[in-house]
């Protein structure tokens, strides 16, 4: 059985198994074990692709090249650490009575189902299956967002379902248009016109510009809704704040990345056929607007998870801007940013989960004195926020700096709103964070059992990436940069 098959089948098998026994204590361990198997297989596959070049499965259904292989490994890794965090967290929740046995089974089963759909979306070669996997990722998580069955959670899940469903339907139309352009213009065999490799290699430059730009607009609106671009972002703060914390961690850290990956894959096809920079300009526009609007909205938040969700929107806007900018420097920065943001944001959400367990609430004005009551949580939150705000020596600083350099080279005046936005976001995050971490703890606040190891591992990796990118990773990013932007950086 090849490594790719293991990577895909492990979460699927785990999902089926956990549907029956997910509510027992062993369910949490099976969740972790399945994620570990997936991660090991994906890492081995990644090393194989790095050594031997892109991997096209027989039947051309799956295609692993430099761009998606590191995302597959990253998804499996964050899935593993979140599963490690989720095991004691969900046992605590079931003891407190916030979830029932049946819902815990659903949770564990859909957790693996969600990982499966994301890995399928990342590894497939077929644009139609990519759509099916993205829709499946929404469907698996909808019931998890409403897991606690409070009115707010159900409302958040409904909003998520409707908005993402409508958005992704536009992406389906865009996919149909791409298929149409490939089939009519090039008279390909019916199965071939949906395959990304075929479209990229032989169709590049030959697809009709009017139809392909129409297709890109629909695909940008569609997959952009899942990325969280303003003004299509309304589902994001609700869905990320109302679900259980491990769900927030994987939604924020992983699903947004996968949606952005889909968008960039399509952009690679469009750029070859359109000789204007329409795709890039549209992505830059949406990205910049998302970045600035989210930075402003950060200030108004009363709920800690909503605040960090807006921070996610802001960073995804930044990444979209970077991919839209194009060129080797911006693309390298965006790829690095995808990695470090994913690691940092999931670590932050894990810490926030523990902090809200400690304080008994998610409201910012009621959480106080974290560093006095439980120093690991306080320091974790502080360092995590420092990392996500873009302080050196963390990795986010490096990617934002690369992006600024790239902006100053091609669009110098756009560096001004970027810098202002960085400042606004930093102010918003720290204004809310400071009283939470350093304030006077309310009487009777006691430490909770918290496993901060996943957080420490993630933040250490982000720090490492900020100080020194290991050679194999740099060469990975370099290969992906050449693939996406056509130019080389190193």
């Amino acid at each position: 059985m090849t490594l790719l098959e293991i990577t895909l089948l492990a979460p699927l098998a785990g999902s089926l198994l956990l549907a029956f026994i997910g509510h027992r204590p062993v369910g949490g361990w099976i969740n972790v074990a399945t994620c570990a198997v997936t991660f090991a297989a994906s890492l081995a596959m990644a090393l194989g692709v790095f050594a031997n070049g892109p991997l096209l499965s027989s039947g051309r259904m799956f295609y692993i090249d430099a761009f998606n292989v590191y995302l597959v490994a990253l998804t499996a890794f964050v899935g593993l650490t979140s599963a490690i965090f989720s095991r004691p967290y969900m046992r605590h929740e079931i003891e407190r009575g916030r979830v029932t046995d049946r819902r815990l089974r659903l949770y564990h089963s859909m957790y693996q189902g969600f990982l499966f759909s994301m890995l399928l979306a990342l590894s497939t070669n077929n644009l139609g299956i990519l759509w099916v996997a993205m829709e499946a990722a929404t469907l698996t998580t909808v019931l998890l967002v409403s897991l606690y069955r409070t009115p707010e959670a159900i409302e958040a899940a409904w909003k998520y379902f409707i908005l993402c469903g409508v958005g992704i339907a536009q992406a389906l139309f865009g996919t149909v248009l791409v298929y149409f352009a490939a089939e009519t213009r090039l008279g390909m065999a019916r199965g071939d016109a949906m395959l990304w490799t075929v479209l990229h290699d032989s169709a590049g430059g030959n697809l009709d510009p009017a139809v392909i730009s129409l297709a890109f607009v629909f695909l940008l609106v569609g997959y952009g809704t899942k990325v969280g671009l303003v003004p299509l972002h309304n589902w994001l703060p609700d869905a990320h704040s109302e679900g259980p914390t491990p769900m927030s961690a994987v939604l924020s850290g992983l699903l947004l990345n996968v949606a952005l990956y889909s968008l960039v894959r399509v952009k690679m096809l469009v750029d070859a056929s359109l000789h204007t920079n329409l795709a890039g300009h549209l992505m830059m526009g949406f990205g910049l607007v998302s970045f600035m609007v989210a930075g402003l909205f950060l200030h108004r938040q009363h709920d800690i998870k909503r605040m960090f969700s807006y921070s996610s929107i802001e960073h995804m806007g930044l990444m979209t801007f970077a991919f839209g900018l194009g060129g080797a420097l911006a693309t390298f920065g965006a790829l690095l940013h995808m990695t470090v943001h994913s690691l940092t944001k999931s670590a932050i959400f894990v810490t926030v989960g523990h902090a809200s367990q400690l304080a008994g609430t998610q409201r910012i004005d009621q959480i106080r004195g974290l560093i006095r009551t439980q120093p690991t949580i306080g320091w974790g939150l502080l360092i995590g926020t420092v990392a996500i705000a873009g302080f050196p020596p963390f990795g986010v600083f490096v990617s934002e700096f690369l992006l600024l350099m790239a902006t100053m080279q091609s669009w110098p005046w756009l560096a001004v709103p970027l810098l202002v936005g960085f400042g606004v976001a930093f102010a918003g995050l720290f204004r809310h964070l400071h009283p939470m971490v350093f304030g006077e703890p309310p009487p009777g606040q006691k430490p909770v059992a918290a496993n901060m190891l996943p957080v420490a591992v993630h933040l250490f990796l982000v720090l490492w990436l900020g100080l020194m990118i290991p050679a194999f990773l740099a060469r990975w990013f370099e290969q992906a940069t050449v693939l996406i932007s056509g130019a080389s950086l190193l």
């Binding site: 829709e135 499946a136 469907l139 159900i154 409904w158 009709d208 709920d303 809200s356």
Partner: protein, 240 residues
């Protein structure tokens, strides 16, 4: 191309496409829940007929499979699911009030004209016999979206969503004689799971909000006004 110059089946395709668009307009104006579900079922029937006709005209026989799948899913399963839920949740006598019905229908007409404009480059490029109906398929999708925007009950929003999927399936059929079968199967599976999840949601929404009026789902918002729950409500995520 004049209508009389086309073959019989091609004329039938255009006729049934127009009837599908007509059912979209009926759904825009239909305020009662059960007739809305039945109209959606009729749209599915007409869509199945169009798909079968396209299969005959184009010679792509896998479209017969797609047509059968559409009929099973969108004429039998999904309307039956929604019908059963409506009876169970006692919604079948509910009728909502549409505030500006004539404005709504004129907007629908405007969307049809817009779809013709959007479809121009596609029709130009296409060599298929069904290219006259591409704009109609885009219009069905956009009118489905309009339905979701203006209607207040959750059932109407779900019907609007399914109608959008109808329009998308229709556009795939008439612009490319259907996507590869594996993709069609995947999309159908997603739609079925979505319908089941919607059904689950209705029960939860009813239990939590005591109503399926989407205007009431407004506790989470960016403004600082007190929500419908009132000031005494527990903040989200607090201990029970």
């Amino acid at each position: 191309m004049a209508l009389s110059e086309l073959g019989l089946f091609s004329q039938a395709i255009i006729l049934f496409a127009a009837l599908v668009l007509f059912t979209s307009f009926i759904m825009l104006g239909q305020t009662r829940t059960l007739p809305l579900i039945f109209t959606f079922a009729w749209q599915g029937v007409l869509l199945g007929v169009v798909t079968a006709l396209v299969a005959v005209v184009s010679g792509h026989h896998e479209l017969f499979v797609s047509a059968a799948l559409t009929v099973v899913l969108k004429v039998v399963l999904i309307p039956w699911l929604l019908y059963r839920l409506s009876i169970r949740l006692n919604m079948h006598y509910d009728a909502e009030v549409i505030k500006h019905p004539s404005l709504l229908l004129l907007s629908g007409a405007g969307l049809v004209i817009f779809s013709y404009y959007v479809a121009l480059p596609i029709v130009h490029l296409s060599g298929l016999a069904t290219r006259n109906t591409i704009a109609v398929s885009i219009a069905v999708e956009l009118i489905g979206m309009l339905l979701m925007c203006v209607r207040r009950t959750a059932v109407a929003q779900v019907i609007g969503f399914m109608s959008m999927e109808n329009g998308l399936f229709f556009s795939a059929v008439v612009s490319t004689y259907g996507m590869p079968l594996i993709v069609e199967l995947g999309v159908a599976f997603d739609v079925l799971v979505a319908a089941i999840l919607f059904g689950v949601f209705f029960v939860h929404l009813r239990d939590s909000f005591d109503s399926l009026d989407v205007v009431r789902f407004n506790r989470l918002s960016e403004s600082d006004r007190p929500s419908a729950a009132g000031e005494g409500a527990a903040p989200p995520g607090a201990h029970p």
